[in-house]
């Protein structure tokens, strides 16, 4: 039994050993209560080329994509300007 963290990440384990893991392959991403994105595979692509043709005016901004290092599942995305910090989400239970 696991609790959700998001649609792509869940909480596994019990007590002090609880972790965030990929829902697809179970790969551990971080201890519960700690940021996880630095442990994912991150790729930045120009927003202009990220989607279809309707994104052609999106200059000066990138789409950051965080993948599971185990299975390549897309875990999270965020819009960013180069150099902006990651958006970190942390739960504490």
């Amino acid at each position: 039994m696991s609790d959700p963290f998001s649609g792509s990440i869940h909480v596994t384990g019990s007590g002090n050993d609880r972790e965030l893991g990929c829902r697809g392959c179970g790969r551990s991403l971080a201890k519960l209560g700690e940021p996880w994105k630095q442990n994912a595979t991150m790729k930045e692509v120009p927003m202009q080329g990220a989607g279809g043709g309707a994104y052609d005016s999106a200059e000066h901004v990138v789409l950051r994509q965080f993948y599971c290092p185990g299975c390549g599942a897309l875990l999270d995305s965020e819009t960013a300007m180069t150099g902006d910090p990651f958006l970190n989400d942390v739960i504490k239970v």
Binding site: P4, G51, F66, C71, T79
Partner: protein
Amino acid sequence: MAVDPITFSIIRHRLYRVVDEAVITLKHVSGSAITNEGHDLMVSLYRADGSLLMGGVGFLHHLTSAAEACKSIIRRFEGRINEGDVFLLNDPYTAALHTSDIYLVAPIHHEGQLVAWSACFVHVYDIGAKNPGGFCPDAEDIYTEGFSSPGVRLVNGGELNQDVLDTLLNMVRSPEMVSLDMRSMIACNNVARERMLALVEKYGYPTVDEACGQLIEQSEARLRERLRELPDGTWESRQYLEVLDEVYKVNLRMTKQDDALVFDFTGSSPQSKYAVNCTKWASLGGLFAPLFPLICYDITWNEGCISPITMIAPEGTIVNCTRPAPVSVATVGAIQSVNNAACTTIGKMLQTSETYLKEATAVWHANHFAIFKFGRSQRGGEAIGIFTETFAGSGGARTYADGVDVGGEIPNPISRMANVETVENNFPIRYLFRRRMKDSGGPGKYRGGTGMEFAVVQHDSPDGGMNYVISGKGANFPMSEGLAGGYPGAPNSYVWVHNNETSDEGRNVDVRASLSVEEMPGEKEDVSWGVFPLMGEDALYVRWNGGGGYGDPLDRDPASVAEDVLSGVVSAEAAERVYGVVLGDGDHDFDPVATEKLRGDMRRSRLVAEAAE
């Protein structure tokens, strides 16, 4: 003594109906498309001390700001608030969001005792700002944003203060329309007062007052209980807001601890020289606009929902600007960014619970555009009006389904747009097309709903065309953030297609049935901020964002992708490159073997990127 459950429930529902009937009155009396067609309005009830009693529909970021308007009037007119009075307030540094959203707040007395307030707003036809329509990209400060009052008595004991109304009408364009706006709000407050007093007459003031108190206690208890069901944590979001060459950020960290939420906007950009700023009352309303429907969807929207919430908005920033910074574009500027940022953090929090997973959503229509056309109509009269398409919106993807195409927005559950014929009847313009925008919905396992695109030209104008004021943003930055890996919806675009704007007298221009902006003759120029012409055979092309997506696009059902391609909302190119779907020969077809192989290759290439970096 507690009111019995049945009476309590009846009074609660009667309060809903009071607000509903007042909204209907507002729409029936107003003659303005932004009110009747776009539903840029709000009506709510407040307790005697100005605290929120029953939040109504319309733009929800007004519920808390109008509470502050009531409280401000109580302070300013202490001892001089009488039965039958109506007060006007539209100063953003006192309580309002921007000057063109005028609040009329009215005390409700029973047997000489102040027992409640009703409050409403509409975006008035004009407010006398530097630019027509109220949104004022040319404003340097609040002093150039039109008539502004921290509180004035418009109706005195049931008698209209004609001198006050005349002062306002003397400062605005199209005074006859603004007069109708004001009368619609007076009528709205009259109906709210009459229905509220009928309720008090039936059950007695002590019972109604007790039930109202219980209702607020119930809302607070239920919201706190809901928050306790969710894990403690912090969630972050970020919005970019551009004006010409300037880029501003709205940063949000939302912290949930036990039964309380803190929204902290520390790190947001300093206030702007442009009118996209908002005041602290506006930011507070901005975060409640998604909070009410997403967390309190089955809880009465009142003061009880406000108590567990704290906002931190540093002074001097774009989300808490200081006077005299201009704010006339706030509602489509910083306030909407606050809406979006809060929607994202709330969605992230809700998806941590199996119980509330289905309530989580990617951001809906994050990117309003205010385009007010103005000039003489085909009948010779003065005409000012917003393109109500900005209210049509786009739904964010949910955790179980696609976003609704052109599905509105979270902060206004009843927003909508006028039909093409209504606009063409009231303004000397013709639409070349208006339709869903391909590839605008954020990709994901569940796709964001699409936005739209449209193009207009002048037609039958006595002056050869019109002009328009545009306060457009989001052309360079997508703003409808996705969730759980879903992409943001596509950005907006505003294009002035130059085409002989000095041609003849402008009547009966040969409208070309252009199928796309690419096909239109003439030089194309991106526009977003200022006043521009729509003259001769010029065209204005606008497209607006789709909603954010949810989940990994490679997890989307390939048949749904093929269906999207068939219906024209996803391109074949995006189907393959973003969704990893290899289309087949038939209309609904995709190649399952080739699709599986392509998706496998794409997943592997994601990991190859790690080695390369």
